[in-house]
Symmetry: C2
Subunit: 366 residues, 2 copies
């Protein structure tokens, strides 16, 4: 299951279908002109480039986005900043786009998926911790008592994170995450979590990259929880993932160097932490920023306060049928102040029910 | 003065000179074959690609490196990992090369250049701090008393760093660094600091990038001291610079968001901190790592302990005539344990006097 790849393939397929006939005609014409093998090869290459360029112009880069003000705002902005003759032209090196992950690129209900991972890990590790049967917050987790878990509050959450996210090497943690994602299923949709990514956002990522943007994740989620799969699923390499982290320590174990994960928070990449994380990891102010909650408020403020053309967008979860509908009252992904501030900053607000004709990525078995 | 650019230009110039005659012959032949304008254009493009490929094979990518075991080791390794038919082939996405900065990409004598910057800043700021006339370590700095400064030790250094590197926004600090570099001169060579970069290393950076490597700086120096100029001088963009940092804080000032630099150390990217910084910022183990001191020991250990082909290199400062000669006894850039460990790990040691026919980059006025 490689959703980014499948999207890419689907786009490629549709491009070649739409212009197949012209391709054959044109190729025939040119082939009759030249005999020399190299020139024939050259001509074929150029033809392929032409076809691709025509296809790109004719094709819709964002087919899962309904026509309307939201989609137009995105396309107009990208067109403007990539047009060398425009006053708003932005050089390729400065084309940085940052994306929140939970609720922006993939779903976040009923709980952040990384929390579901942590709860699963508590169950997996329980046989090695008989004391957890009576010790909170672990006892509540093992009994499936979500109220008891909630009562343990932030202190409980930190204890669960420490027990499940630290004490191993970075390499071992990467393997644990990879193994979990391969088998775990979402509690209500029963789909693998990496299939709960938004098709319109995959198209947007591909569209921005095709226009010279470097796409980054800037998430409150764990940086090392995301990196094992973001390249495969989103086409975003590990060095372009910014997230929360715990401290790590370089050590020699059996004569070989390892990085051990310590039970201590290093950095929280959320709210006012997001501009700090962006500055630390990217060192440039983004030109475009995409979020879905008040956790993204400062990232959008920071981004759109920059000089020159800037773009902010909030994904508003309005689709109870195909996904979930929530904003101000929600505990997770709460969208309140950012929604209020959107008009004054000119941030675009996606109405998921209205603006997206497809929500989750299509599944293509590999 | 844009040294990376000048290197690039010089290489381009020599490529076109060397194959000029063949180009004209070949172009003439092909031009007589075809009349159609598009095909003529196509043919010209392909020809240009051919010329570029021939030129690359014929040209020396590392002209400032003398022929010998060191240069061969670099070229052999790069050839191996970029050859799809080799057992040591490394996919482009994994081609990460990390470079220390001080003493590896630019000089570091008589003091790290960032310390010279800090001392200059103390002098610049002194009129606003009359108390510094009698208060150590500032009094020693203002009197030019390096012994007194040394006596203030690490505590003194931290005080100077806090006074000169914090209390302003990230944007203001970037401007301060940029302004300083534009006018400051090295105390003995009298050259701008950005001209005290090593020509052989500029060639190496360009060579690795031409072979699909992503080049990163991983330095004990300040991340925000380097980012304002690394793209111009080394061709390394800010998001590929890893370094030491102080804490920053997101704040609203006059209704606009700023990141303020706080007088508190956030991360020391040196020694055992380098693999931690690499993991945090890059999230992949490098395939190649380049350093010059014991501060780079753990980065080289971490890099070359990885599975598959790995490459470690130490720049040994042996050239008292053209640069400086120092290793084990040196305070700055001390190369001791790493030199001892080099043979057992197969790290290549550059003997600057023997292996480089040119040390500093040529200066081309723009």
């Amino acid at each position: 299951m490689t959703t980014a790849l499948s999207t890419h393939r689907a786009q490629r397929r549709s491009s070649s279908w739409s212009t197949n006939e012209q391709v054959h005609q044109k190729r025939y014409q040119i082939m009759t002109w030249v005999i020399d093998k190299r020139l024939a090869f050259v001509a074929f290459c150029v033809l392929a480039v032409n076809v691709a360029m025509n296809a790109r112009a004719a094709d819709d880069p964002l087919p899962s986005w309904n026509e309307g003000a939201t989609k137009s705002a995105v396309i107009d902005f990208v067109t403007r900043v990539t047009d060398e003759d425009s006053a708003d032209f932005v050089p390729v090196a400065e084309r940085v786009a940052t994306f929140d992950n939970d609720g922006t690129l993939w779903a976040e209900k009923p709980l952040y998926f990384q929390l579901l991972f942590a709860l699963d890990r508590v169950k997996t590790l329980a046989p090695q911790h008989p004391e957890w049967k009576t010790q909170e917050p672990f006892a509540s987790v093992l009994k499936g008592d979500m109220k008891g878990l909630a009562a343990a509050g932030e202190k409980g959450a930190v204890e669960i994170l420490a027990a499940t996210h630290s004490g191993m090497s970075t390499a071992d943690f990467e393997q644990i995450v990879t193994d979990w994602l391969a088998t775990a299923r979402h509690p209500t949709t029963k789909r693998p979590f990496t299939e709960m990514v938004y098709q319109p956002m995959l198209e947007l990522l591909a569209y921005l990259r095709a226009n010279g943007f470097k796409t980054f994740i800037v998430s409150g989620g764990g940086i090392e929880f995301m990196r094992p799969w973001t390249e495969r699923v989103y086409g975003i390499p590990p060095e372009q993932v910014v997230g929360s982290s715990i401290k790590t320590k370089f050590e020699m174990r059996d004569g070989r160097p390892v990085l051990m994960r310590l039970p201590a928070i290093d950095f929280v990449d959320d709210k006012a932490g997001k501009p700090v994380g962006i500055n630390s990891h990217i060192g440039r102010r983004p030109v475009m920023a995409f979020g879905n909650s008040d956790g993204d408020l400062q990232m959008l403020q920071w981004t759109t306060a920059g000089e020159g053309p800037r773009f902010g967008l909030l994904v508003h979860h309005t689709d109870a049928k195909r996904e979930w509908a929530y904003d101000r009252d929600s505990h997770i992904g709460r969208l309140d102040q950012a929604l209020d501030e959107a008009p004054q900053h000119g941030w675009v607000v996606v109405d998921m029910a209205r603006d997206w004709n497809q929500v989750f990525a299509e599944v293509v078995d590999e």
